[in-house]
Amino acid sequence: MSRPVRFNITPIEANISDAVSVAEAPDGYAGEGFFTTKLSDVVGLARKNSLWPLPFATSCCGIEFMATMASHYDLARFGAERVGFSPRQCDLLMVMGTISKKMGPVLRQVYLQMAEPRWVISVGACACSGGIFDTYSVLQGIDQVIPVDVYVPGCPPRPEAILDGFMKVQELVGQESIRRRNSDQYKALMNSYGIE
C-alpha cells in the first residue's frame, strides 16, 4: 500500500526519532577491547531476542495470533520473525485455543519433541483453564499435560495482551540460569508431569 493506513479518527503523528531500540548490554566489566560478563546473561540476551515460536493454534485465539503476526501488531519486531512448525527447530510453544481431550496427547507429543531449552506460553482462557467450556470433552487447562511458563488470559486476548505475554517470556528467558535445565527442581517438575 502506498500510503499508511490510519484508522484513529484523530490520528497522532508518530514520533520516530527513537523507533529503533537497541538491546541493552548486560552488566559487566569493560576495558580496552574486552568486556566480561556472566555467560548466562549473554546467552539469555541472545535467546530472548530471537525466540522462534511454534504456533499451536487451534481455535479463535489462533486468529488473534494471526492478527498479532500481521503488520499492525507485528510479532516480528520482538525477534519472532520465523515462526516454525517443526518442534525441533523452535524454542517457544505458543498454545492458542481450546485443547480437547482428543488433542491432549498430540500436544504432549509435540512438547516432548521440542529440544531443550523450551518454554511454553498458554494463550487464551481455554488453554489456561478450559475457559468457558467446562465440558466433558475439553481439557481444563494445558497444565494438566505439560508445564507452562506464562499464562495469557482473555477470550481471545487482544494482540497487545499476547505481546505482553511474549515479553514476559522474554524476561524469563533473559534471566534463566544456564544450569536450570539440569537442576533437581526442574527434574522434579518434569517428573510430576511424567516426562523423563
Partner: protein, 168 residues
Amino acid sequence: MALTNEHVQQRLSEKFGAIVSNFEEPYGMLSFEVEKDQNLKVLQFLHDEADLGFQFLTDLCAVNYPDQIGRELAVVYHLHNLKDNLRIRFKVFAPVAQPDVFTATKLYSAANWMERETYDFFGVNFVGHPNLKRILNVDEMDYFPLRKEFPLEDQTRIDKDDQMFGRG
C-alpha cells in the same frame, strides 16, 4: 403452481397412509412423524417424485426424549426442495433399548458424517452405514454424552468447585 405444505401432506398420506402421522406446521414448516422402518421409503419417495423433489438433505440430527418410554430417541431429518423453496422436517422414533434406524447414506452422501455424529452423541445405530464409528469424541469413550442422563461437566476435574457453580 408452487409446492405447498398441503400438497406434500396430501401426497404422503395417499402413498403411505398410516405410516406417516402427526402432521403439524410449527412456525410454517411441515413436520410429521414416520414409522422407524419406513424412513428410507419416505426419503426415496420425497426425492424421486417429480412434483416433490426434496433432493437436498439440510440436516440430520437426533433428540433424546427420556420421558417417552419406548420412543426415547428421535432422528430428525430436515429436507429442502431448492427449486420450489420448501422445507419439511420429519422424525423417526426409536426405543433406547434397540435404536436401529436404516441409513440414508446411499441416497444422500451428506448423511454419512451426520449419522456418525448422531451415533457419537446418542448411540443411534444406523444399519448399513459404511463406517459407523465415533467422529467427534475420543474413540475410547464408552457412553453417549448428549443423552439427558449424562452430565455436561467432566466429573473427574479437580480445579473447579461444583458448589461455587451452583451444581453441588
